[in-house]
């Protein structure tokens, strides 16, 4: 008897609860305020990794430092190691509760959680780094760093002796594929015999996986390593220790690879972050370039070419500088067709200059790269 009563009570309780929750489950559309992003006393930054990873997060963290300096009256709320799951939603909710009306979710996978939070808080502006989806109060910005990576590829193509270059990549998302392609096109433009071997390790920063991938690539005969990871230190150090060269990404890491460093592409977010905050805090987000998909790059100095290593000969430096000037003067664009994929199919027709939006849907690897996109 008692058993039945107890279960009866529990089940009744659950049914009532479900009914109650169900009734109220529709989220009412919040009021859209015209001065969104204004009135807060804090700015939030989310990072997927640690602030000192010699990589993506360090670059973004440096940018947030510039914001801190430019807006001394605002409190900066920064959280590192925020996973790309619903956990990020909680961090953003907490930031909003603490007075933030401007939030920077800086990792690719923070986009979906940010969109969810954006639905609930129409008065808060979200600026996502690299996203392809936007919302009323969520804009995305990115820097077309692939143009600099192309230059880094040109230098690497000149430097390689074995004509095998290793590329350690994370996930087969468009931005990563785009960078592999840009690097490969750069290498091939000066060295048609060279190949770029791409491996996907399924993580943004896993030093164990990075070291084993780096060692495997070196064992296969690669004499230049580069990467699209968030933390870059392990791979660069492994390359240096094994006596092979490296092209950098995210940060200028010349000091950790004095012998093997060629050059690399890095971010300089400082001015962009400050300017975005400025526009939003003035209540001018709506209608500004940041409301939507904002893309910038080498011309604005948001993506930069790193220093050259000491073993890079002058003629290579000169060649890269010339190419850089051509790009800066809009005389040359790395992805001008014809661009063929691995199977030889033409993906960008001869003479066609693709838009950034088109490039950001890249789902193939170009001719000259070896490796499979994980399906």
């Amino acid at each position: 008897m008692r058993k039945r009563t107890l279960f009866g009570i529990i089940i009744t309780f659950l049914v009532i609860a479900i009914a109650y929750f169900n009734n109220s489950s529709s989220i009412s559309a919040g009021e859209v305020k015209s001065n969104m992003g204004v009135g807060g006393d804090a700015i939030g930054f989310l990072f997927v990794g640690p602030r000192d990873d010699y990589g993506y997060n360090q670059a973004a963290y440096n940018g947030s430092e510039a914001v801190k300096e430019a807006f001394p009256f605002m409190k900066l709320l920064r959280v590192e190691n925020v996973p790309e799951t619903a956990e990020a939603e909680r961090v953003m909710e907490e930031m909003i509760r603490s007075g933030a009306k401007v939030i920077f979710p800086t990792s690719y996978g923070h986009l979906d959680p940010a969109l969810e939070v954006a639905k609930r808080h129409r008065d808060v502006v979200f600026l996502h780094q690299g996203g392809l989806k936007t919302a009323e109060n969520l804009g995305t910005y990115f820097s077309n760093i692939f143009e600099v990576i192309y230059l880094s590829g040109v230098a690497a193509g000149k430097m390689t002796k074995t004509n095998k270059l290793g590329f350690i990549a994370s996930f087969p998302i468009p931005q990563v594929l785009l960078n592999i392609n840009a690097y490969t096109l750069g290498v091939r433009s000066v060295n048609p015999d060279a190949n770029v071997i791409a491996v996907f390790n399924g993580s943004w920063c896993d030093p164990g996986k990075q070291a084993s991938a780096a060692n495997t690539l070196i064992d296969q005969g690669c004499d230049v390593l580069t990467q699209h990871q968030d933390c870059t230190k392990t791979i660069i150090e492994t390359a240096e220790r094994r006596g092979v060269m490296s092209s950098g990404y995210h940060c200028d890491a010349l000091e950790i690879a004095p012998e093997g460093w060629i050059t690399g592409a890095y971010w300089n977010w400082d001015d962009l972050y400050v300017n975005m905050c400025d526009v939003i805090l003035n209540g001018e987000f709506k209608g500004s370039p940041y409301d939507g998909r904002f893309r910038t790059g080498i011309h604005e100095g948001v993506a930069k070419l790193a220093r050259f290593g000491k073993n890079v000969p002058d003629d290579v430096k000169k060649l890269v500088k010339e190419k850089q000037k051509e790009i800066l003067d809009y005389k040359f664009y790395p992805f001008t067709g014809p661009v063929r994929d691995q199977s030889g199919t033409v993906r960008i027709e001869p003479g066609v200059v693709p838009t950034v939006t088109e490039l950001e849907t890249t789902d193939y690897l170009v001719e000259g790269s070896i490796g499979n996109i994980p399906k």
Partner: protein, 342 residues
């Protein structure tokens, strides 16, 4: 009976409060040496967790998977088995229910679809526990080892499907499953993320408590857990009992998976629920495998992890500041457990 168990401990309530205050003071001094204001930070941490409805909701959300994965440990523990498989069972529950949500129940209305998904999740977790169960009774392989190792297999199994047939076609190559249709999401409280998962978790805890304490089955389980030989002599088939409890534990672990996916994430990702199984094991251990005591301990750990974000945000210190606090609290609890244990 319950009250006795809850408050039975070698230490007086005064000693416990002193210990808790001691942790706060020592950690506060540490924060102060790092250039942060400990009072402000404690205030913000309290605000973020129990200061308002929102914070309480966040703690409840976070505690839900901890309660279930802790029960996944506590149920086999009743018959003397040490299962560390909550992690893998959660992953498999999430995986099987995602399959069900994407391929079978896609267009079902909530009142059929959600119970079916919960069943699918429980089934996935249970199936994952079948392997250690069979190995245990047939080959006498230690269940701690098998459940632990299968956690890693489960992680990669999820990855295999998410990169493969479960990958969302509109995810731009990003590894996650298609979104659950809205009818298959757990109902939430308006404007918040609080979903009915916490009620399910608490209900399961109560059921487990009731069954183990007040039923014939529960009595036999405790006999097996107390003394295997005595159980055999009194005619209990020990192997069957062990097998069944492992499976039931697995099913509860699987529930944690489906609740996390359907209640919070909305789609399965490689990192969904990673680490929750191990925190659940810790919760079960702290609660002495008592099904009802698991609830407050799960809430405690949930509060630490929710408050941790506030700690990091307002102190402006490195992210490892949260890990230092967690490690500190766990060491103290470990010390108490060691001296106060049976």
């Amino acid at each position: 009976m319950l009250a006795k168990r809850v408050f039975f401990n070698k230490y007086s309530i005064g000693t416990k409060i002193t210990m808790a205050l001691g942790i706060c003071i020592v950690y506060g001094v540490f924060l102060y040496t790092q250039g942060a204001n400990p009072f402000l930070i404690y205030y913000e941490m309290f605000q973020a967790t129990f200061g308002n409805v929102y914070g309480i909701g966040e703690v409840a959300i976070k505690a839900t998977p901890f309660i279930l994965t802790a029960l996944a440990v506590a149920i086999p523990a009743r018959v003397g088995l040490i299962s560390v498989g909550g992690e893998g069972q959660l992953a498999c529950g999430a995986l099987s229910s995602t399959f069900a949500a994407v391929y079978i129940f896609k267009d079902m209305p909530s009142f059929i679809g959600i119970p079916m998904l919960l069943l699918a999740g429980a089934l996935g977790g249970a199936l994952w526990a079948v392997v250690p169960g069979i190995l245990k009774i047939v080959a006498r392989v230690n269940e701690t080892i098998t459940t632990l190792l299968l956690n890693y297999v489960a992680f990669f199994l999820v990855g295999y499907f998410i990169y493969g047939i479960l990958k969302s076609p509109d995810a731009y190559g990003w590894p996650f499953s298609p979104r659950f249709s809205d009818s298959l999401r757990l109902p939430t409280l308006e404007g918040t993320r609080i979903h009915i998962g916490i009620l399910i978790a608490v209900a399961v805890a109560i059921i487990v408590w009731y069954v183990t304490m007040y039923t014939h089955l529960g009595f036999r389980m405790r006999v097996v857990g107390g003394n295997v030989k005595a159980a055999k002599h009194s005619g209990i088939i020990v192997e069957r009992m062990q097998f069944v409890t492992l499976i039931v534990g697995g099913a509860v672990g699987g529930l944690a998976g489906i609740i996390e996916v359907s209640g919070i994430e909305g789609h399965l990702r490689p990192m969904t629920g990673v680490g929750y199984g191990y925190i659940g094991f810790l919760v079960a251990w702290m609660a002495g495998n008592h099904p009802l005591l698991i609830i407050p301990f799960a809430i405690l750990l949930a509060a630490i992890s929710v408050g941790g974000n506030a700690l990091e945000m307002h102190s402006g210190l490195n992210s490892s500041i949260v890990l230092i606090l967690m490690g500190f609290i766990l060491i103290v609890i470990l010390a108490i457990g060691k001296r106060g244990g049976k």
